[in-house]
Assembly symmetry: C2
Homo-oligomer: 209 residues x 2
């Protein structure tokens, strides 16, 4: 009556280990020990070490797609709920930013998987492409669309919404990378994010004329 099947626990523990040491530096014996079995028993569930890694990859990718899907669901559906956005104030933007940051930093699987991608991106072209897609291209294009709508609704001054997304997202990206490796600096980063969004908001707000 375990919470998780052995097969699932293997990828959970392997993910943790890969995230902090990198694929090559983790032995199957270490994974097995973390799971609580002996190394050869792993091969009853996965036929190789590489196979464990690809299992992690597909699992995490499907989680990501699912999450993005649910975001798009109550996200941008142009025409509906427009007024919900148009009165998005500074405080709401700060809340959104902080929550996004906190989620990316503390959600166990998201965080671990990003570390794996960070560490392995140069060894495998597929991983590099995945990193770019998940942590650069898709956030930027999503937020770009969002800001375009808000701009159209008159909430911000007319500027390039994609550059605006870059201005909004990049500082959070940088602070995320910082905190990933230096968790003790999270409060400082959180404060920086608040200041960032406040200033961002002032810069892009429509002046009363």
């Amino acid at each position: 009556m375990e919470r998780q099947s052995t097969k699932d626990r293997i990828i959970t523990e392997a993910l943790k280990l890969f995230a902090e040491k990198g694929y090559e530096a983790v032995s199957v014996a270490q994974i097995a020990e973390a799971v609580g079995i002996k190394a050869p028993s792993l091969y009853k569930h996965y036929k190789s070490k590489q196979n464990i890694f690809t299992a992690i990859l597909t699992e995490m990718s499907s989680r990501y797609e699912k999450q993005v899907g649910s975001m798009r669901m109550n996200g941008i559906t142009p025409g509906a709920d427009m007024e919900l956005f148009s009165n998005m104030g500074e405080e709401q933007l700060i809340d959104m930013g902080k929550q996004l940051f906190s989620f990316f930093l503390h959600d166990e699987y998201t965080s671990l998987f990003r570390r794996v991608l960070t560490v392995e991106q140069y060894r495998d072209k597929k991983l590099g492409a995945l990193y770019a897609k998940q942590y650069v291209d898709e956030p930027l294009s999503y937020q770009g669309e969002l800001f375009a709508l808000l701009m159209q609704a008159g909430a911000f001054i007319p500027e390039n919404p994609n550059v605006m997304a870059l201005h909004f997202f990049a500082p959070m990206f940088l602070l995320l990378i910082l905190c990933e490796c230096h968790p003790e600096r999270e409060p400082e980063a959180m404060q920086m994010i608040e200041q960032h969004i406040r200033q961002f908001s002032r810069l892009y707000e429509k002046k009363v004329s």
Copy 2:
């Protein structure tokens, strides 16, 4: 009459290999082959694999310090050359940004070493601290001081100069990380940087009243 001594070639080739595969994934035999000698001969120059790595570390750190030193030299020395900054226009800012980006991306040692730090930062606290210092804290504080001076000189609207530095630097940081793994996207990134700085400049410029 070789350009580089064997001892130097070892760290050059080792750096390249570490940058693309990570420390653990590279064997001393691979390093030796890249240099053109046999594995045991490496030990005439360095007493262990770890020793090669630390040699890379100290070499690259000293290069970095030297470079920062020369930047500070003709950089911020408050009181001197103030008028040189105060008439820094948009085009100059774009040029500076592009050159900085291009240097970080194409300078062989800088680029390779950042990849090594990216990949190894989680395994070694020292490397993590070095990464944070070199690629986050110091650029931000340097540019923060710079913008503070420019602001004081009346070139920009009064805002928090450190947040301003974050707004200027973070987008370039993000695009750098992107291009590091996807060199084919450099033109796109370069164009994005130009748009970024132009918009940044518009946002922070002092309006004529």
